[in-house]
Assembly symmetry: C2
């Protein structure tokens, strides 16, 4: 799974960045001054970083990718295990202390897959991707997993078909206005606008008995550009595989929530698991989808629902009738996490953890090998510095995760396995995943925003010879129009909040470890994601031919690791965090107002017959339901806590702006307490309806999946109109802020 499943999400990141203007952060970023370093140490650090850069070789990335993506290597496959051993051998050869932590996880694979239309004509879907003579990798189809969605239940269902757009809650509201009920029907929905696991979940909540997910060429295919192998976009046979487990409830092995999936761990039985889909679900190509969609009648789909197939999109239900039969092996397979350590000199029990998964759905050249090879280059370069005599002040831990694609299995089991140790030792978790040509993308803990900006300002974009922050700022300005000129004089960018979709999630949201997720992209669009076509040949033609952005990722992450490992004072900052959370509270207040205004308007329009008069009577549209009145929430506890935090964060910032006056003892004490800051934000009770997620500020959305919800407890309660829960969650969130206030009080007294 990549950071951004598509350009849309990347754009959302940018938009968030722009909506969160923080000021006055530019002045300290002179090139020869580094947050958390004394002047003398900063000079050494910069020389070290220069030396680090010299070690990075694009040819290394190229040959590692060729090796790791040579064959299909999904979780549990032979080549996946070979890759684990290969990675382990590399780290060991470079001088790391390595080990492979093995877990035993549930991973269903298809035994049978049938999708056929039984009326008005017969059609049997191929459910296969085509091998291409131009790309020999695509001929290794015997070793590859066929297209399917992992953790769909077994099922054998027949029903009329309904087209439900992206399959989001709003889409079913629209269907209801057209008088269409999906109860007892099979829905066909298109990929996009949510994480895929949300689609069967929402379909089942509305009574559908089966769910088909396809890639419409409007979102992912010829509409975007030439298709593979001519261009990078999805050809008619490409199918996006992927997990559909209800990951917003918990990630990791479905049978062992909260505990590591060791050989003898207590396990849920299959029927105790609540996070499988409720209905069978299967992904298909647009080649297979077109005959089904074309056979639908009923109302014409509203304009925004129409895709790029050369048909009139109808909603159904029927007359297309679908038979869907799926069965899976429900096997337990080994999951190999490769862990490599370089011990720290001064603080061996402070760990800087750098991870990227290595398992793929098929060959996974882009996802995840492009990120994995950057990680390897960092490890090799650090090892070279180490051989030249350098030793980090803190311990550096490289992790190559297995089983990410199924639901962050490797990373989650490892975090659950080592939870206490990590909460004591881990300083920061640094994640990457797929990587390619283009713009910097970054999300993470806002206590690291200041730190990360200074890092990125020193990294040069290989295409434009400016730094990667300036390039991203130019992109944002060009997309935001003249308004973005309000950023003039400010050289920073704001990092986005993290939802889910890669291995940072258990670290940040379960364990409370400050995290960053970094990658480059935006000029590497394509349709290879989770298909047979994500191969080395696709990658070097269309993603990052010269691996120059792989090197850029290594430079970015290498600086993060080196600075965090070497610094005199850990570079946490609480001013950006406070401003960011204040901004989230403003969003919640706006959301509450929006809900109230919407309810008022809908009810007024119903009363004034606006809907009835403004709609073609021949469409026989149902009226929207009247809305309940929206009460006023009390945001004061949260605002008061943030007000206190603001004062203390500024005090801490001014005390640590120049660290030369701090004694070694003060630094040691600060360094001991600072990593605890993120954990203060965890609610021990966890989020409502999903206690595994404990972070009060960042979580994946219950109905967006990867997409983040900030202040998730209150926000989702507001979105769902659960006002008592919203009020209660505001209290939980303000309690979390108060815990951070308390920690800062302590820090400021050191």
């Amino acid at each position: 799974m990549p950071r951004f499943s598509n350009l849309y999400e990347l754009l959302l990141t940018f938009i968030f960045i722009m909506n969160n203007p923080l000021k006055g952060i530019a002045q300290s970023s002179t090139p020869d001054k580094i947050y958390g370093f004394t002047e003398a140490h900063a000079a050494t650090e910069l020389r070290l970083e220069h030396e680090f850069d010299q070690q990075l070789q694009p040819s290394d990335l190229d040959s590692w990718m060729k090796r790791l993506a040579a064959r299909p290597h999904h979780l549990g496959s032979a080549y996946d295990h070979q890759n684990a051993l290969f990675l382990d051998s590399l780290f060991r050869a470079w001088g790391y202390q390595t080990r492979i932590d093995t877990y035993y996880v549930l991973f269903p694979k298809p035994k049978s897959r049938i999708l056929e239309m039984t009326a008005p004509t017969h059609f049997r879907a191929t459910l296969e991707e085509k091998s291409l003579p131009q790309d020999p990798y695509t001929q290794q189809i015997q070793e590859a997993l066929p297209p399917y969605n992992a953790y769909s239940i077994d099922g054998d269902v027949t029903g009329q078909l309904v087209y439900a757009n992206y399959g989001l809650p709003d889409d079913y509201e629209m269907l209801a206005r057209y008088g269409i009920d999906v109860k007892g029907k099979i829905v066909i929905v298109r990929y996009g606008h949510s994480w895929r696991g949300i689609k069967p979940k929402v379909a089942a909540e509305h009574g559908a008995i089966g769910c088909i997910i396809y890639s419409d060429p409007a979102d992912d295919g010829y509409f975007q550009g030439d298709t593979y192998p001519t261009g990078p976009f999805k050809n008619p046979w490409g199918v996006q595989r992927g997990s559909v487990i209800d990951m917003p409830i918990y990630s990791g092995d479905p049978l062992t929530p909260n505990v590591a999936a060791t050989k003898n761990a207590p396990r849920l039985s299959l029927n105790e698991v609540k996070i499988f889909t409720q209905i069978p679900v299967l992904p298909i190509s647009y080649h297979d989808a077109q005959p089904l969609l074309e056979a639908l009648k009923g109302p014409v789909a509203p304009p925004s629902w129409r895709g790029a197939l050369p048909i009139t999109y109808h909603l159904g239900a029927g007359p297309a009738t679908i038979h869907l039969q799926l069965s899976f092996s429900w096997d337990i397979v080994p999951c190999y996490d490769v862990v490599a350590m370089l011990p720290g000199k001064a603080y061996p029990d402070q760990w800087i953890i750098r991870g990227n998964h290595y398992d793929a759905w098929v060959h996974g050249a882009a996802d995840p090998i492009s990120g994995q090879v950057a990680l390897l280059a960092e490890a090799k370069a650090l090892a070279a510095l180490h051989q030249q005599g350098w030793q980090p002040q803190r311990t550096i831990v490289f992790c190559a995760w297995d089983g990410e694609e199924q639901g962050l299995l490797g990373s989650t089991e490892w975090v659950e396995d080592h939870l206490k140790e990590l909460q004591q030792k881990a300083i920061v978790y640094l994640n990457s995943d797929g990587n390619g040509r283009g713009y910097l993308g970054v999300g993470g803990s806002h206590t690291l925003e200041k730190f990360f900006n200074q890092v990125a300002l020193s990294v040069i974009d290989p295409e434009t010879d400016t730094n990667v922050v300036a390039r991203l700022r130019a992109r944002i300005i060009s997309q935001e129009g003249t308004q973005a000129s309000s950023l003039d004089g400010d050289q920073y960018i704001h990092i986005s909040a993290l939802g889910s979709g890669s291995d940072y999630s258990p670290f940040l949201q379960h364990a409370g470890i400050a995290s960053l997720n970094v990658g480059y992209g935006g000029e590497n669009e394509g349709g290879e994601y989770h298909t047979l076509y994500d191969t080395y040949l696709d990658y070097i033609q269309f993603k990052d031919s010269s691996f120059s952005y792989g090197i850029t990722l290594s430079k970015t992450m290498g600086r993060c690791i080196l600075r965090l490992a070497n610094c005199d004072l850990l570079p946490f900052d609480f001013t950006h965090f406070t401003q960011t959370v204040k901004h989230y509270v403003t969003q919640l207040q706006q959301l509450e107002k929006h809900e109230r205004d919407t309810a008022t308007t809908v009810n007024k329009w119903l009363e004034q017959k606006i809907y009835a008069l403004a709609t073609d009577p021949q469409l026989r549209m149902a009226l929207p339901s009247p809305k309940k009145a929206v009460p006023y929430l009390n945001f004061a506890p949260l605002l008061n806590a943030l007000s206190e935090l603001d004062t203390l964060a500024n005090l801490y910032a001014s005390r640590t702006n120049d660290i030369s006056h701090l004694s070694p003892e003060q630094l040691r004490k600060l360094n001991q307490l600072l990593p605890q800051s993120e954990q203060q934000l965890l609610d021990p009770a966890g989020l409502p309806h999903r206690p595994w997620y404990k972070h009060t500020i960042y979580a994946p959305g219950l109905y967006t999946g990867y997409g983040v919800k900030t202040l998730p407890g209150a926000r989702e309660a507001i979105e769902q109109g659960n006002w008592p829960e919203a009020q209660q969650q505001i209290i939980q969130e303000s309690d979390a802020i108060k815990r951070l206030v308390k920690l800062l009080n302590t820090l400021n007294k050191i």
Copy 2:
């Protein structure tokens, strides 16, 4: 030509309506009080209108449409002449004084049409629409004009193909950024977003040697809904015919600008005419367009340029190479305007003119017969009232125009023929064209806005049993969201300004006769416009099956005619007009600011390398050109004139709000002068570069065609960066307002 060539333009109307909030106009619209009538006369008038309504029979409209649209009847065809004689006989039978005014106009018809792709593969376009067994009318293909664009020049050109989106000036700017020059090339553009005649004009200005226009299914085809005959939308063979003469320069017979095309009129020679296209142009179906577009390579078209064909849209140039050969007969044909008069009792020399064209591109059931049959129903009903003893105070003139489709030939020649008489006698020109199921659409002189609203408030929508204004307001509110609640308490709608596209243009913009253009639509979408498929069967299946909106149009126009013909005081109002023009001035000021801000931003971004940094270097996009600085214009003359007008308009309104205190002599004098008001707004010198158009407030856009430009002289000069001309036109426009001020001064002294 219909009022709205598509829903997009209809929407623009609504948007304008919403952007022009005028207040305080509701209070006088009590049902028993009518503007311009004494209370006693109002009661009589309402009884008369009730009686009028009783006369209207849907079965009449149905049988007249069947008769008029039975065979293809384009200008110069045998059936066109038969229709003229039939219309004349109807009016005569009902008791009107009728005549047929005949003009002799230039009308080229195709002799040969060849469009073939010569590379990379060979393909010859069919250039034919298919007859359908389900619709016998479509089998009369021998009598029909084949698909072509009238007033394309003859030509025989071969060149590489370039895709230029909608063919607007901005599209060529975008092509330039991709490094694509259309010089010596043939462009293919899609219908929509401008009047079709603009497309070859702009293509030629950029050096193209030929122009192909096609209907993309995204705009006009299966993307919208089921295609004919299953549904109303454009099938793969449908081609939109239409004139491509440079009508924004002048309308009417190209050989006789400013004078009537009588038999012996002085005529330009063909090579003296400046308003033919500069390059050959041909419209084609999407069936014929797909192979051409599919054969293009070069950059992938930007997202908003992509249509709904199942291909990746590329820009070219080439490798597709096109041979286009066109030749036309350049014949002079007769053009028959049918004119029917019912003389007025008190003011026989004050004419209320009601017109609709009757010529079509093929059968023209919707365009124009659906409007023509409503006009006939009005004439028949008035005749019945007349037979019962009623006689109008003023003369009513019905006009059935010929040759509208070629460029408003019939109406323009008639206006030019009778210019002086019309400027003395015509009170208002009331136009309609195609009509169908849905919402009220209205444009016209804002001196009639108050009058028209009161009329429409008394017309009941047949689908919802509310009045047509309330229904339109509901539609606007539902489309504008909650913001539209600002209209609460106000029951009026604002009428849009008129550009061109139907026969009001010569009346309003050349002769200065206050005009209204009215029609219903928005629930009658389809792709039949100017194709073989605009038949009676299409109309009764998909447009207005029961002719209930034909009847509604008759009721609306009937009230307009009756009130204007019978009123004690002509219901011109100047308060709405003043507020509307003030709003236009604000738009101009915003436009000037926008141009200045854009220039500043573009230049700053160039300097800061924003464009270069924000774009994928592999796309090799050219930078935008630096912009010249934008000077400040002096709007004071216009604002001062409007300020004076405001005072006088309010004074006039308060004097005439209750007309009972006005003497017959005062009323007579006012009635004599009021119709002159619109002519005060004419600039005798005409608009820059197109002196035939004389109205300083309303004109078709030089680069939009049908689309209106208000305060056109200044607006288009600003758009084109011609600042001296903009300043000079502000003076011309303020002079026009001052002439109206002078007239109002006179009126207020009566």
